[in-house]
């Protein structure tokens, strides 16, 4: 029973966003609610098949929403930074690579870290090798390492993951 209830909760946590997505797609047409039920149900089933619910996929939407403004602001800074360099007559770049020991669990969290870094000023995620993430930096003078560490900590907090205990 307890397992069933947890399973239902996991399914609902995916069903609701999918249903909202459907309602937005159809401009909340009441005639589309029935196919919407089927669509969101099918998407939930597919999603649970491809990505079974577990601790690592358990995302707290409220803390995720609290991340959004800061992330958007940093991506604006990232855009301005790269635009300035692109328009500058001498394109000031001092490219370098960083090999970063990731502490986040593999899968979604690490991919989001890479994606967010790719939108932030001066960093570009380039995948991993073991637990080492390759990060390309546009300018070696920028304080990128601090930015990477704090971004990783923010994501860890959002998914309720303890970074300290992750490594031996």
């Amino acid at each position: 029973m307890g397992v069933n209830l947890r399973g239902t909760m996991f399914a609902l946590r995916r069903f609701v966003p999918f249903a909202i997505f459907w309602i937005i797609l159809t401009s909340n047409d009441p005639g589309a609610w029935l196919p919407g039920l089927i669509a969101a149900g099918a998407a939930t089933a597919l999603s649970l098949h491809l990505l079974p619910a577990s601790r690592a996929t358990h995302v707290n939407f409220r803390s995720l929403a609290s991340l959004a403004p800061g992330f958007l602001w940093r991506s604006v800074l990232g855009g301005i930074d790269v635009a300035w360099r692109a328009f500058h007559p001498r394109t000031p770049l001092r490219p370098t690579w960083i090999r970063y020991q990731v502490r986040l669990p593999a899968g979604g969290p690490r991919v989001s870290l890479g994606s967010e870094l790719s939108l932030m000023p001066g960093t570009l995620g380039a995948g991993e090798d073991g637990d080492v993430m390759y990060i390309h930096c546009l300018d070696s003078n920028q304080p990128v390492l601090e930015a990477i560490v704090s971004e990783e900590e923010r994501i860890a907090r959002a998914i309720g993951f303890d970074l300290g205990g992750a490594r031996d």
Binding site: P35, A39, A42, A43, L50, L51, A106, G107, G108, G127
Partner: protein, 316 residues
């Protein structure tokens, strides 16, 4: 009323110039990979052009096929060709002819069409009768009505052609590989970027596809567009190593591929009992059309997916 030269006209002119420019670049560039990328960009531009012409159904198909699936197919094809650049010195007379003949044929057809379009007097089009008889078809989207009712012949034959293409592609399978999974055996890093992407995006694509299918009955979209979207996310999940590619001997994938043409043919034949071949009675038009559309969507999705993956092969 409207100014002679507005931003809308400017946009349309620039778009037309770019479409022709990209088409010329794509067909004349020597590097095959560049030509493929240019063709993808061409697909994006053409989708925009269809939107500007008000043909949203066609634009959806072009966006899904031209900018999406064709890119996947052609990039895979280019990767299999070992020689990508022909040496500059080896331009023989025959190679030159091989370029000139299709180019002049294309020019001839294009100018013939342009002559027809510009000289024909458009006194009466089929638009009025199509709209007048729309209630009898069971759907409100005139494009779907034409495809599944007025010109059902065309659509039935088209889906059969698609199915025939699939069989032809299966025929190229090497004997000892028959019964293996379609295409190469895909492998990815566990929980890597590609695998995560392939687990996350398909459900979203499924909802978008169902939306396009559902809207196809009454507004825009339809079986072909939705089927292409399903095929694309299916291929993504396979390329990401999340699910296995099906094999041609599998019973479920075969019934998927054949469902559309078979159900369509069944309806066409039962029409004979009522009135004549391929007649959809008005009373059951809506459920029947939707059922045909659903079966066609499944078949198109499965067939396109299998065609893009290709016959089973072993990595060298």
């Amino acid at each position: 009323m409207a100014p002679a030269f507005s931003a809308l006209t400017l946009f349309d002119v620039v778009l037309c110039v770019l479409i022709i420019g990209v088409a010329l670049c794509s067909s004349s560039v020597r590097d095959l990979f560049a030509a493929t990328v240019l063709l993808i960009i061409y697909g994006v531009f053409v989708a925009i052009a269809w939107v500007r012409l008000g043909a949203v159904d066609v634009a959806l198909a072009e966006a899904a096929i031209g900018a999406g699936l064709t890119g996947v197919l052609l990039i895979g094809a280019v990767a299999r060709l070992k020689i990508t650049e022909s040496p500059a010195a080896a331009v023989s007379r025959w190679q030159f002819a091989a370029k000139v003949i299709p180019a002049s044929l294309g020019l001839l057809i294009a100018s013939g069409l342009a002559y027809l379009v510009l000289t024909v007097e458009w006194r009466e089009t089929l638009q009025a009768p199509v709209l007048a008889n729309l209630p009898d078809t069971g759907v409100l989207n005139p494009v779907t009505a034409v495809l599944l009712n007025y010109r059902a012949y065309d659509t039935l034959l088209e889906t059969s052609v698609l199915f025939a293409a699939l069989i032809a592609s299966w025929c190229t399978t090497h004997d000892d590989l028959w019964g293996e999974r379609a295409g190469l055996r895909q492998h990815t890093r566990r929980a890597g970027i590609l695998a995560t992407f392939g687990r996350f995006l398909p459900p979203i694509g499924l909802i978008v596809g169902i939306h396009i299918f559902w809207a196809g009955a009454d507004k825009w979209g339809g079986a072909f567009q939705a089927g292409t979207i399903f095929a694309a996310v299916w291929i993504l999940a396979i390329m990401a190593g999340v699910i296995d590619a099906p094999n041609a001997t599998g019973r479920s994938i075969r019934s998927f591929a054949v469902a559309g043409p078979m159900f369509f043919t069944f309806v066409a034949l039962t029409g004979v009992l009522a009135q004549s071949f391929l007649i959809i009675p008005v009373m059951v038009a809506k459920p029947l059309t939707l059922a045909i559309e659903a079966c066609l969507t499944l078949s198109i999705a499965a067939t396109l997916m299998l065609l893009v993956l290709g016959a089973p092969r072993r990595s060298a």
